[in-house]
Symmetry: C2
Subunit: 453 residues, 2 copies
Amino acid sequence: MSTLNALFEARSVAIVGASDNPHKLGGRPVAYMKRLGYKGKIIPVNPTSKMVQGLPAIASLADLKEPVDLAVLATPEAMVEGIVKTGLDNGIKNFVVFASGYAEIDEQGLAKQRQLEALFEGTDARLLGPNCLGFINTKTQLIASFTTAMEANPLKLGRLSFAGHSGALGAYWLDKTIRADIGVSKWISSGNESNVDIANIVEYLANDPDTQVISLYIEAIRNPARFEEALTLAKQNNKIVVALKGGKTAAGARATQAHTASNTLNGVDYKTIFNRTGVIEVDSLSEMIKQCQYGLSGLTLKGNRVGVISISGGAGVMLSDQLTANGLNVNDFSASLRDLVRPLLSPHSTTQNPVDLTAAMVAQPTMLGDVATTMIESNEYDALVIFMGLMDSIADSITRSLLALDKSVDCPVFLIWMGGKAECIKQLSKTNIIVFDDIPELVSLIARSKPGC
Amino acid sequence: MSTLNALFEARSVAIVGASDNPHKLGGRPVAYMKRLGYKGKIIPVNPTSKMVQGLPAIASLADLKEPVDLAVLATPEAMVEGIVKTGLDNGIKNFVVFASGYAEIDEQGLAKQRQLEALFEGTDARLLGPNCLGFINTKTQLIASFTTAMEANPLKLGRLSFAGHSGALGAYWLDKTIRADIGVSKWISSGNESNVDIANIVEYLANDPDTQVISLYIEAIRNPARFEEALTLAKQNNKIVVALKGGKTAAGARATQAHTASNTLNGVDYKTIFNRTGVIEVDSLSEMIKQCQYGLSGLTLKGNRVGVISISGGAGVMLSDQLTANGLNVNDFSASLRDLVRPLLSPHSTTQNPVDLTAAMVAQPTMLGDVATTMIESNEYDALVIFMGLMDSIADSITRSLLALDKSVDCPVFLIWMGGKAECIKQLSKTNIIVFDDIPELVSLIARSKPGC
């Protein structure tokens, strides 16, 4: 089977059902690509308008002078089959179908989907969907999607890609990456997976030089052997794969049947596949985003030893409890490190790991950077966790210390800043320091990222 | 021993070390009480100024014409013992000591603390601290604390109280209640607990008619029998107690020793005490705040049956998985309920629990309220979970539906609104609907709140 490069890197795209109204489903892809500067050719297809959003339109795919790389169908389900047939007849090799009303509904819908799929038999043409939100390629600003998640903010180019069975979760994922200022390479919604499934997409992303971390929302694994092969390829190519799995219980499986027409309790042992291929499983989109940020940092935990610096004694206590309860080691300083750290702290502080900076830090904000650097340079810890809370009056100084730290070390640094100033958190999001709101999500990330996990 | 009413409800307060500078530690209590309108008498004590922040000051507690209910010591540790002695000699019965440098530091500090405590032997006088952030009584706006957490926003009066061993965590707790618009009754930082400990405070709050939910951060339980008695009293008086426990592991206990001079691994089986007295244990401040909001709502889960309504099929799948994995039951509709719900949904939706509203809701935003009301009125579910994501274009309509729902039912309703508009979330925070950012924290709350838990 052909690779998916021609689909996801199309240099010309026909939008069938293109609307002059940029807010309508068929108007959005045109509007987004125009605004963001898609590097290829856009051809609106509309039976009644000669111009769509200022671009010359054609009435049908039959009117194309030469085949486009991709046809995006933003039409109701009833028109899909005819349009796909015309497209195939006119040499188009790649289709995206947004329409729902197929196998996810009932037996009649399933029959319609089989009929659509039959058009592709014996061809090397590809159909993404139906019942999907399409895809985005940030590098070329190819927006073959009607998701509004990037309507207010353009997508930043980066090395993180998404593929998933839920378009809506994909949209929330996009929104979260935009808010966290994370750059994206490809974003792909696979829907009912007529002839492009998650395994195909993972294989494509595993070979994509622009993708470093692959983020997946998975319901059914339709072909476990091919899925595992794709994940193995990703591992061989040093890609990090982070996955959220839906449909693990009977109640969840009942819901996936109505969602993407998939039976997730089909005997596939996804946990074993994940373990064998090094996939990191998370339990929520929030965890997903943090885990991907960590993957993108390129930093890794080489051991289990965690150093903790806290502005709150109580937070230091809770971090010590939760880290050790999750198999990490919050071991104390060696005698020589204690001697190095003692003069950096207030005389009222005990010199130990976890370090309690106490309110003395307010008068001496450089304390944070000094202690952190000393602990990292000691090589006694494999990761450093810093806990800050509020501290508006010295927030800029804290931020400067952390920005300086980010440049100097290759040890993973994690920050919890409870009630921290939004603009400081934003500045820090551009670094390799992963920022959290509270303790448990950080502890889960470190526990999942331990050597041997 | 006397109750703590005279301490926490003092009608006159001397601030020793009161500063004219409202930003200094000794200036803050005066500034806050003046600004917020403390209903009692404030007497600044300052040896060199006749006026402090516009109030007439005295030079020493010896100069008081009659004893005040409370003396707050905002002075360095070296001056504390002398001032307390003068206060006791002049008939003062209640003291708050902010200074650190006692048992939490070393043997010498411990000796100093014992010396301070000796002054109270054979008296019924009370000392909160040392090494504490003091307390706040919102009803009378008595701010015997230097915490800056309520500097920007006045505290709203409400029925939630806090007591804890960590002043900093207490400050973050305050900040979170302010952001979530939750009213507070008492806020108490106990520090080294010379002669007022958490058990005394819980006993006081258990009898406090203005407190409905008690929120605790606990390191050492110094007197397990008295602590359990106090919690039993709270239970008898129908107060809900939510606790975060620090110092559960060897590493955590090492940290509590340096934090509040407490050995938390002293053989006290806190879990058994919590279980016997119905204390709800949480793992983070974020969880704490949500659990307290739920407690304040007065609503309870009468069974394990959870109805789910989602705008995202994928989120419905994940909710089904995680709820059932945590012992909840996401059972499907009865035939009669199915018949009632079917006409409310798009023809492309499957009529089942979890309900997938699909994008059809955008065109018909009343769908949410209609389906929710029908499910609640069916009595087939003990709680309703609603998942929304983004939806800026119909956010106001969603909010109106939820506000209407809040008024009509006594079934707990939980909302996850991923990427929801801040102003809508703020409006909903005034209702009994608890709002979450993501799925796991909601599932944990419901799992902890099941009958029999």
